[in-house]
């Protein structure tokens, strides 16, 4: 090839034709990142070629393998940025809605208060990185890193549509659930590591909370998977498109799952691990500065994932009811995120309306209310399945 003008370097090739393309189907974020790298790498290659004509680096930069590798790096950034912005938007929504229903205004800084999140992030970023003297430094650091890391991981793993996913596992829902359930263990260890009584109690409570909601939640996930006949998120959503949304047959499970998801995300009324009235900030007491800011971000990422799971399992994912395939294929990501925000709105309303439950009450609710309800839900689904409705 001649490689004389810039257009020779930036050639929008078809990524599906790339032999190293990692997916079987079309993937929109990868497409975006691939095109981004075509522009970026092409520009760099062109510039390098201008200075030293005919070198090997330029052609290497736009070769298939290297394009794919750099596109994957950009892919990660794109996926995380979308999850991040979605989280910030839900954080902003929580602040505004919670403010309005309390008869106040919520945040007010810029863009109807959205820039307050940016200001908060900057502020926590600027703060001194304080580590208390007598904490177990290693554990103190890696537990919080893992809490934040797993939260970011699952937030990125949520598929927004059939063309927006990271990995299309056959067992997608189960893997998200497994990583989701990891964080309480790290919280428990972190509570021990902080050498603070409040943190210790907070960590213990996180474990207490987990044993109370995790089992009914898993039963309900199993129920949904049973109904769809698959663990794959795409299968579950497509099944809902083919029949009805699962919240109609599983109305008991839907309501129970919303409460369980609230507990999973550690939000009011189930935020006993960081109950600020009695334990100062629970297991987050000794974390300051950017660590605390990232914990808050992780909290909201987990909230986003909880809502996304409700949407995937019960509200038909990215599908619009009674719409043709053409309409469904237009902006499924936006439809999905809108549904996520509607569920998150319900969570915010719960937070505004309810108080925090006690530790023994959450165990009671988990085992005496949620557990039977989830089993009843399972029974209903089994009946439907045997009756041949699904």
């Amino acid at each position: 090839m001649a490689y004389s003008s810039i257009l020779d370097w930036i050639q929008f090739r078809d990524m599906m034709a790339n032999p190293f393309y990692p997916y079987d189907t079309y993937n929109l974020p990868f497409d975006i990142s691939y095109k981004l790298w075509e522009i970026l790498g092409g520009l760099i290659a062109w510039l390098v070629n201008l200075i030293i004509p005919g070198n090997g680096l330029s052609t290497w930069l736009i070769s298939d393998e290297v394009s794919n590798a750099f596109a994957l790096i950009l892919f990660m950034v794109v996926i995380f940025l979308v999850a991040f912005v979605v989280t910030l938007l839900s954080l902003w929504m929580e602040r505004k809605v919670l403010g309005r229903l309390m008869d106040r205004r919520g945040t007010m800084i810029g863009l109807k208060g959205f820039l307050q999140n940016v200001a908060d992030g900057l502020k926590t970023f600027m703060k001194e990185n304080v580590i208390p003297r007598r904490v177990d430094k290693m554990t103190y650091m890696w537990t919080v890193s893992l809490v934040i890391g797993t939260s970011v991981l699952i937030a990125c793993m949520i598929p927004l549509s059939e063309r927006w996913y990271v990995v299309s596992y056959g067992t997608g829902l189960l893997i998200i659930m497994a990583i989701f359930a990891l964080a309480p263990f790290f919280i428990l260890v972190s509570g021990w590591a902080q050498n603070n009584k409040y943190s210790l109690i907070g960590g213990m409570r996180a474990a207490e909370l987990m044993i109370s909601y995790e089992v009914p939640m898993l039963i309900m996930i199993a129920t949904t998977c049973l109904m769809a006949g698959s663990f794959s998120i795409f299968d579950i959503v497509n099944m809902q498109g083919d029949t009805v949304w699962f919240f109609i047959p599983q109305i008991i499970g839907f309501i129970t799952f919303i409460f369980c998801a609230t507990a999973e995300a550690e939000r009011v009324p189930f935020d006993i691990a960081e109950a600020e009235a009695e334990l100062v900030e629970g297991w987050q007491t000794e974390y300051a500065g950017m660590k605390w800011g990232l914990i808050m971000l992780a909290d909201y990422l987990r909230g986003y994932v909880s809502c996304a799971m409700v949407v995937i399992m019960y509200l038909g994912g990215w599908l619009i009811p009674f719409a043709s395939d053409g309409i469904n294929g237009l902006l499924p990501e936006v439809v999905f995120l809108t549904k996520v925000w509607i569920v998150f709105f319900a969570m915010v309303i719960l937070r505004g309306a309810l108080a925090r439950v006690r530790t023994d009450q959450i165990v009671n609710i988990g085992w005496k209310v949620f557990m039977p309800l989830s089993v009843v839900n399972l029974a209903v689904v089994l009946l439907l399945k045997f009756g041949g409705v699904f």
């Binding site: 109690i201 009324p269 309810l354 108080a355 925090r356 006690r358």
Partner: protein, 381 residues
């Protein structure tokens, strides 16, 4: 979850041989409204022992009063309690009037009653707000504070200050109230009587709130008497006593109101007593406004009193929003008091902290202590 038995909580102790640990809650802890500390010994999550520590806010109030002339103590008495400043000022003025042996004009009495009840509502709303945050709901907090703001506005219209009102005077009140104020006060009270139902619906119709309060912090009638607890905390345990009704000062004997008494003795009954008291206060305000109107525009509202109090002693007590507050004045015949002793209800009520929280879970400690309605300004003085 809702039908949690009382005995069940008390009997719940760890079967394991665990190590007990002391947790210091306060003085800078979200649960301690003000500067006080609760040392709690925990067995797992259950409190087995507790010890309240006060004294962080000691300002030498009583000693300071000995260096001031009588009118100058009035602004200081405002600052005994920020939530209900008018009641202590009222009490101080009554004590000095008793030492002087004078009877103040009727109109001043009714204005004082009205101002007192406005302050009682303010204080109870502040308490309701604290209950909201202690149980983990910020909506109740902000709604209660919003309602409180209207009564603050009433205070501004009445005497020009929002919180530290400096309104009662020895021998009467600072200024007369006009018809405009009476109109605003009636409207505000009538509005409040409707708006309070919203907050009640938030708390009483919520199973989480009720189950958090029901059956926790039990105080029996005998224990209450032994500890000297007064106020709504006492009336929640079944003791039917209210200074306003049983030993009326000013003109409370001409007011028509009900003293709510409940027998359960748990946090929820204390909560309900306070809510009912707010409604009764609204009634008293409306009655007092009518009486003031009936007395007439030109009636005297402030007596000229001598600057020197004759040597002797005087004692008065009154029903504070938090309990029974008393003042004891020793005068040596000069312009300044020889000794002024304040008996604050919370100073006594906080001694109930140990029996209240023993056997509770640590999550219940804020909820139980919120029902005592701590105010450290008057406790430490």
């Amino acid at each position: 979850m809702m039908s949690r038995d009382i005995i069940d909580v008390k009997a719940e102790t760890s079967a394991l041989n665990t190590q007990k640990m002391w947790v210091i809650m306060g003085p800078q802890h979200p649960f301690s409204h003000g500067l006080w500390t609760l040392k709690a010994q925990l067995d797992g999550e259950i409190v087995v022992d507790a010890e309240p520590i006060i004294g962080y806010l000691h300002r030498g109030w009583e000693k300071e009063c000995e260096n001031r002339t009588y009118p100058k103590i009035i602004p200081m008495a405002d600052r005994l309690c920020y939530a209900a400043s008018m009641t202590y000022t009222h009490l101080y003025c009554m004590t000095v009037e008793k030492a002087l042996g004078i009877d103040i004009p009727e109109k001043a009495k009714y204005i004082r009653i009205m101002a007192d009840e406005i302050c009682r509502i303010q204080s109870h709303l502040m308490w309701l707000a604290a209950v909201g945050t202690d149980l983990g709901n910020l909506t109740v907090f902000l709604w209660a504070m919003r309602e409180r703001e209207f009564f603050m506005d009433l205070n501004v219209r009445m005497c020009g200050a929002r919180m530290t009102t400096n309104f009662p005077r020895i021998g009467g009140v600072r200024n007369d109230i006009d018809d405009e104020f009476a109109m605003f006060a009636t409207r505000c009270v009538e509005r409040f009587e409707k708006a309070l139902w919203d907050i009640i619906a938030m708390v009483d119709d919520s199973s989480i709130f009720v189950s958090r309060m029901k059956g926790t912090g039990i105080l029996t009638r005998e224990r209450c008497a032994n500890l000297g607890i007064t106020g709504p905390a006492m009336r929640g345990t079944g003791v039917d006593f209210d200074v306003r009704r049983d030993d009326p000062y000013d003109n409370y004997d001409q007011m028509d109101f009900v003293v709510p008494v409940l027998k359960d003795g748990d946090s929820y009954s204390r909560y309900r007593v306070r809510i009912e008291e707010m409604f009764q206060s609204c009634k008293i305000i409306k009655q007092a406004l009518q009486k003031v109107k009936a007395i007439g525009r030109n009636a005297p509202y402030r007596l000229k009193v001598p600057s020197k109090v004759p040597a002797g002693r005087a004692f008065m007590r009154m029903e504070d929003p938090r309990g029974e507050s008393m003042m004891y004045l020793v005068s040596d015949g000069s312009e300044k008091p020889y000794r002024l002793k304040v008996r604050s209800p919370i100073f006594v009520n906080v001694s109930a902290a140990k029996p209240l929280v023993q056997g509770c879970r640590i999550a219940d400690v804020p909820a139980v202590m919120a029902m005592i309605d701590m105010c450290l300004g008057e406790t430490d003085r």
